[in-house]
Structures are given as C-alpha cells and as structure tokens.
Symmetry: C2
Subunit: 295 residues, 2 copies
Amino acid sequence: MHFADRLTEAMKKKNSVVCVGLDPQLSKLPAVLLDKMKGQYGATTSAAANAYLEFNKNIIDAVKDLVVAVKPQLAFYEELGHEGIRAFEETCRYAHAAGLIVIADGKRNDIGSTAEAYARGFLGKVDLFGEKKSIQEIDALTVNAYLGIDGVRPFIKVCEEEGKGIFILVKTSNPSSGDVQDRVTADEKISVAQLIGHFVESWGSDCIGESGYSCVGAVVGATYPAEAAKLRKLMPTSIFLVPGYGAQGAGAEDTKPCFDAKGLGALVVSARGIIFAEDPRAAAQAMKEELNKVR
Amino acid sequence: MHFADRLTEAMKKKNSVVCVGLDPQLSKLPAVLLDKMKGQYGATTSAAANAYLEFNKNIIDAVKDLVVAVKPQLAFYEELGHEGIRAFEETCRYAHAAGLIVIADGKRNDIGSTAEAYARGFLGKVDLFGEKKSIQEIDALTVNAYLGIDGVRPFIKVCEEEGKGIFILVKTSNPSSGDVQDRVTADEKISVAQLIGHFVESWGSDCIGESGYSCVGAVVGATYPAEAAKLRKLMPTSIFLVPGYGAQGAGAEDTKPCFDAKGLGALVVSARGIIFAEDPRAAAQAMKEELNKVR
C-alpha cells in the first residue's frame, strides 16, 4: 500500500498527527536502567545500546495507541557504533510490530550510485548472494537534496516499488536554517527552501496515492510558521514532517499552517518533550489533544 | 596534531595526493571470496560484511605506501545493517594501523544537539557510564551544511579538541549538482556553492594549522574544473576533497585547479577505478603519477 495512504489512514484511525522522536541519550536515561545494563555488560557500547532498546520499547508500549509514527534519529544510535545500529534495528522492528509507522531520521544524501545503496539498505531490498532481503523495517527516511535530483531519484524508485516514503529537508527547524535555506535566488526570486519545495512537489508528482499525497514528503519546521504557510501552498501533494514542537520552542498554534483544509497532511514530531517527560504517555496524550484543537 | 598538518605532511612524505574510496559492492567482489564467506556464514549480511572487510584489507595492503588516505563510503556499509557497520569500523582500524588517514564519507547533517551526537560518535569521544571512549578510528568526516552553522559548529569543536577534520559539501561531482548548488543568490550574486564556500572559509578561520590549512575542508568535484578554480581562490585555507576522477569522468588535468601553488591542498579520490581494477596497486600507482604530473 502507498506510504502516504498508510500514513493518512493511520492519522484518521488514531485521530492523531503525533510522531515521537526516539532520540535516547545515556545521560537522560533512568538510573535503574543504566545500572542494570552496566552491571550486565560493563561500561560498553553494548550496555548503552541495550539500555536504548529497553528504553525505546517502554516508550513505544506507553504511546502506541496515541501516536501515528516513531522517528528514531540515527545520530544517537550511530554514536554507539555497530551496537547502536543493532539497537536501532530492533527498535524499528518493535515499533513496526506495535503497529507504528517508522521514519528513520538520517538526512541521507549522495550521488546517484551511492544513493542507490542507501535506498536499498533503508527502504528496499539488498541482494545477498542472489537472495533479495529487507535489511531494515523502515517505512520512510529523511533525505537532504543538496545534490539535486540524481541523489533523490534512487530513493523515489524504491519508494514506488516498496510502498515507502521519503521526507526531503526543505525548511529545517533550527535557528541557523536561514544561512542557506533563506537565500533568495536571483532568477526565481524565491528562497532556496522554496526552490527545493518546488522540486519536492515536482519529483513526487508521479507517485501520488489515493489520499492525494505523494511518496515524497517535506521536512518543514514549526519554528517558522510564516514560511510553512507559503510552503504548504507550494507543495499541495506533499506530507510535511514537522520538527520544532516542544523542546525546540514551537507551540501547537505554530504547526497550524502545515495542515491541509481537512487537518491532515502533516505529522508533528516531539522527541525530548515526550520521551524524557516524567509520564511519556501523558505527554503524548497532551500533545495529541493540543494539535487536534488547532488542525 | 592538527588534521590539516597531518594530511599535508603525509602528502609530502608519500609524494601523493591519492585517496582510495573503499566502496565495496557484493556484485563486484571476487567469486572466490564470496564463495568462501557464503560457505562460512550462509547468504547473510554477516557473510557480506566479512567479504567487504577482507576485500578492503587486501586493497589497503596493496596501496598503503602509494596513497595518503582511504575514504570508506558509509552507504555501502549501512546497506548491510549493523554487520556492515562492524565491517566499516574494522576497516577504519585496519587502515589506521597501516598508517593511512581515514575519511568517513557520510555527508552527515542535522540540528545542533543532534550534530553533537554525530561529532562525538565519528570524530570525538562518547561518555559511556562516566568513561569517555573513542568509538571509531576516523580522522575526518564529510558534512552537508544545508542546515547552516548550527549543524556544523559541533563538528568543528570536536575537530579542534581532537585534531580531526571535516569536509563540507560545496560543489559535488554528480551531473545534477547544479540543481541547487549552481543557483545564483540575489543579494551576493554568487552561486549557492560559492556561498557555502565563503562559509567554509569563515568557519575554518579559527582552526588553521601550521600548514596554512584549516580543519574545515571542502568537497569540490573534479567534474567542474572552472567552478573549482573559482572555489580555490575563494577558499585559500581549505583543503579540497576531490571526487569525480576516473569512473565519474574527470581526468588528471581536471583536478589541476584544486591544487595550490605548491601542488598541495587537495586530495583526489578514486573508488571504482582502483578497487575494482584488475591490479589495484598498478591503478593507484598510475593515478599517483598522473596527478603528480599536473599538480
């Protein structure tokens, strides 16, 4: 089934547009969990990775009926080397089994032949000695389009074949996102973010599902609502993945421009605000309700 | 010791500016190696990863006195999941032990707090239950600056602390690199690639080594020599990491604008052209000599 249709259906069924960022950090995990893993595996990457996995499973169990998707941030797993990647993989499988859509936040980018390897590994199938196997259980990946269409096409091809999705960085949520993204181009008189927005809309035009949305989504930060409103108009067939809510400073009202007229078409992410909350379930519930009020 | 100084010293000592891309692909590996690993581990990611590692070790042994650095492309290892990352890690350690500089090609990018995790994991030290440990043996990482300075600062901080380097994507070697990178900005009347070039030069200005080069280098493709010439002038203190030679179409002459007046300041990469050559050592030797003729 088409990625955008699966995502849209899950939003409707759960009456939720919440995505939980699974961004574990050792210094913020419960002491009892850390002590247990350190006792079992020593002060190793293996202990840390197992702590991440158990922490993630608890979060997933707590929020799975309230949220649509999880978004593990690859940086935090890669920090622990191959043991971290193992924890990432098992987290994705566990989230999938819990009925959640899994978005890997890797912001991957490279030239065509290399992007093919990323696309196969994260979203498609890898040829292992003549047998095609899925390595990961991931529904979508974030992608950086600085290299142009060559670096994005391999991902779209796999998305079409496998019912997967990508979210291309358009306007990111961080304070310095304007350094490059807000520059105005001399020919088109639009920002670089808007230029990439045009690309996103065009690149996704051949893979639009029944929901009216394509398999090529866009990352648009809630911290720049005026820009988000322009981008929403410019990309009517792209689902927005919206970071910036909560710990990064944006409120529910700021996410409003990201939604379409039906209150769909955007998935809002919170990581620290949920996973490190005293009661993650209550935090997810509160976020769900706040967003439902504005969309 | 400062990264740029280590790199420059190695170039002088070996009289070489060659970097070998370690981009293994299962379909291109020797049948005898594949049969051996498949026999031992079955048709698994473990078998493939072990094949990559043994293949890489053979390449490193063959070329280590002729080349300055190796550049494993993370996509090809990530394609095999955590087993691939294990092979990547062991490849980096083996290359380091062979006296080579190791550049991880990951083109990583994210907001500040997340970029910190990438910086710690790839280039710095990770706090594991109160003990600071290096997870990888990597000298430099490629970085995508689409998110602006927030996403780059954490890398530079670790570079300064640990004597490591980054190479920021400026003008990439692929055919569609112009989609974004060649757009001209309305205010500065320069291309987006040149804009990022200015950033690179400015961001590196506080970490210039005795060689005159900073810890912030630039990726500049050999496939666009006219653009490279402009970028060389614009970034006098940045070492260029130069893809595009060989299989991607650029010849030795095309790399010329990337070098400084002393024939230094640029490291030229070839992957497929060396590692899949019938005689990788002969291919590396030929590339070394061709480049030495023009620089």
